[in-house]
C-alpha cells in the first residue's frame, strides 16, 4: 500500500516534531518533577530571539549557539526570579505560575513580533527525500533529536551532575544531605530545558512557521508523546513522540468518516488507554515502594 507507506513516513516526520518537544518536556520533568505548561512558549520565544538575530544579520551558525546559550541563561533566570520565590508552595500553585508564565510569554511575543507567520530558515537546506514526504530539514531534525537524546542519556546516566540532578529532583531534602546544591540543580534543569526547548523551537519553526501560537498544540502533542513513552524516560519520550505522530496520521487517514475530524481525539484516547494499562507509560519506570 503506497498510501500507508506515505502516511507512515509522514507520521514519522510529524512525530519528529513531537519527539523533539517531548524530549524537552521530559528534561524539565527530570529536573523538577513538574510539567511546565510554559515550556512551549519558552521555546517559541527562544526561536523568535533567533529569528530576530537573523533579521539583524547575525550569521546563522552563530545564531544557533547564541540562542541556545541565551535560552539556557533565560531558563536559569526564570527559575531564580520567578519560580524560586514560590518556595515550597503546593503543586497547584506552581501550575498556576506556569499558566501565568505562559500568558506572559505568549503575550509578550505577540506584542514584540506580531502574529504574522514568519518563515524560519532551516539549517539543512531546502529539498526533500522519499518523494517529498520527508524534507531534508525533517531528517535533520530527527537526527538532531536523536543526538540530543543520546547526549541526555549519557549525561543522566554517566555524569555526576546528571546523577545529582536526578537525586535532587527525586528527594530534595536527602540531596541536600549529601551536599548537592539542590537550588542550582533545579536552576540547571530549567536552563537545560530551556536550551533543549530552543533547539526544539529552531527545528520546528521551519516546518510550522514561526508565530506566537506555534507551540500551543505542539506542546500538547509533546506532553502526549512524553506521557505515552513515560515521563521518566527520555528514550520513551522520543519514541512516544514518533508514535503519536504515526497513530494520529494513520487514524486520520484510515478511520472512515470521522477519522479526519478526530485525529487528535483518537490519538489522545489511545494514550489514555495505554496509561490505564501501564500508568507510567511504555518506558516509564515504576518506582517500587514498600507499603
Amino acid at each position: 500500500m503506497e498510501l500507508l507507506a506515505q502516511q507512515l513516513i509522514t507520521g514519522i516526520a510529524t512525530g519528529g516534531i513531537y519527539a523533539c518537544m517531548a524530549l524537552a518536556v521530559v528534561m524539565i520533568y527530570q529536573a523538577i518533577h513538574h510539567l511546565n505548561f510554559a515550556q512551549g512558549e519558552m521555546a517559541m520565544f527562544s526561536t523568535f530571539i533567533a529569528w530576530q538575530m537573523l533579521a539583524w544579520g547575525v550569521p546563522y551558525w552563530l545564531v544557533i549557539p547564541l540562542t541556545v546559550a541565551l535560552s539556557f541563561v533565560g531558563g536559569v533566570a526564570i527559575e531564580r526570579l520567578v519560580i524560586r520565590p514560590l518556595g515550597d508552595a503546593p503543586v497547584l500553585s506552581h501550575i498556576v505560575v506556569f499558566i501565568g508564565l505562559f500568558a506572559i510569554i505568549n503575550s509578550l511575543a505577540g506584542f514584540i513580533w506580531d502574529f504574522t507567520i514568519k518563515p524560519f530558515p532551516s539549517a539543512f537546506g531546502e529539498g526533500s527525500r522519499f518523494g517529498g514526504l520527508i524534507s531534508n530539514h525533517q531528517l535533520g531534525m530527527i537526527a538532531v533529536t536523536m543526538t540530543v537524546l543520546l547526549m541526555l542519556f549519557l549525561f543522566f546516566r554517566y555524569t555526576r551532575v546528571g546523577l545529582a540532578m536526578r537525586a535532587a529532583a527525586e528527594n530534595p531534602a536527602s540531596a541536600r544531605l549529601v551536599g548537592i546544591r539542590v537550588g542550582w540543580m533545579i536552576a540547571l534543569g530549567w536552563g537545560m530545558a530551556a536550551a533543549i526547548g530552543a533547539i526544539a523551537g529552531i527545528l520546528i519553526a521551519p516546518i510550522v512557521f514561526l508565530e506566537p501560537n506555534m507551540m500551543l498544540s505542539i506542546l500538547l502533542y509533546g506532553f502526549a508523546g512524553a506521557v505515552l513513552g513515560g515521563l521518566t524516560s527520555p528514550i520513551g519520550a522520543v519514541f512516544g513522540g514518533f508514535m503519536v505522530g504515526i497513530i494520529e496520521n494513520l487514524a486520520g487517514t484510515y478511520i472512515p468518516e470521522i477519522g479526519g475530524e478526530l485525529k487528535l481525539p483518537i490519538a489522545l484516547f489511545l494514550i489514555v488507554t495505554v496509561l490505564v494499562f501501564k500508568p507510567t507509560g511504555l518506558f516509564g519506570r515504576t518506582v517500587v515502594q514498600r507499603v
Binding site: 555526576r160 536526578r166 527525586e170 544531605l177 549529601v178 519506570r285 518506582v287 514498600r290
Partner: protein
Amino acid sequence: MSMLLEVTGLHASYGDFRVLHGLDFTVEKGGISTLLGANGAGKTTTLRALCGMIKRTGTIRFEGNDISSKATEEIVRLGVAHVPEGRGTFTGLTTEENLQCGAMTRRSRAEIARDLEQAYHWFPRLRERRNQQAGTLSGGEQQMLAIARALMLRPRLMLLDEPSFGLAPLIVQEMFSILRKVNQEEQVSMLIVEQNAGVVLELADNAFVLETGGIVMSGTAAEVRDNETIRAAYLGY
C-alpha cells in the same frame, strides 16, 4: 580532647512553635555522643537544626567554622553527614547510584571507587543489591544504605537519627558494631539520637539528656547510665 562541634545557645522553632530553647553542648573529635530523651523532647529537631534543615539561632562551630547560618549543602560539604530519620533513600535510584550520590562532594574518582568497595565491605548485603532500585530494599537494608551513603562523604562528623528504628535486634547489634568500627578505624565522630538508650549508651562516650527543648543532664555515657534518677525519669529503664 579538642572539640569538633561546639554548640552554644541553640534555638529553633517550627513556625511559631518553639522547640529548642538554648542548647549548649559539644562533641569531641573522634568521640561518639548520644542525645537521649523522650519523644517530643527535640532530639530530631536538634539534628535538623545543626545541619541547617530548619531555621535556628545560636552559635554552631564545626572545626572552628561558624556554620550557624550556612545552608545544609554547605554544611555537608564541610564534612557533616546526616543520616536522617526515615533514611532518606533515593528510592528511584539504584543502590550504587545512592552511594555515588553520597560522594557527590568529592573529586577523586579513584578514592570514590575505593570507598565504594569499603562500603560494600562494611555492608555486604548492599553489594548483592547494587543494581536494585533502593525503594525495593528491606528496612534494614535501607538503613545500611543510608549509613553507607553517609560514609561515602568521608565525613568527620556523622549525625544519626534513630539508626535502630524498625530493625531487628540482630541487625541492630550488627549495625552498632559497624558504627563502632567506623568510629575507630576511620576517625569519624558521631552524634546519635536514639530511643534505644540501653544499646546506644554501650556505644557512646558521652551523653546528653534532652527534655522539652533543653538539656537536663550531660556527662559521660557511664555517668548517665549509672545515674539512677536520670534513668528512671528520662530513659525509663
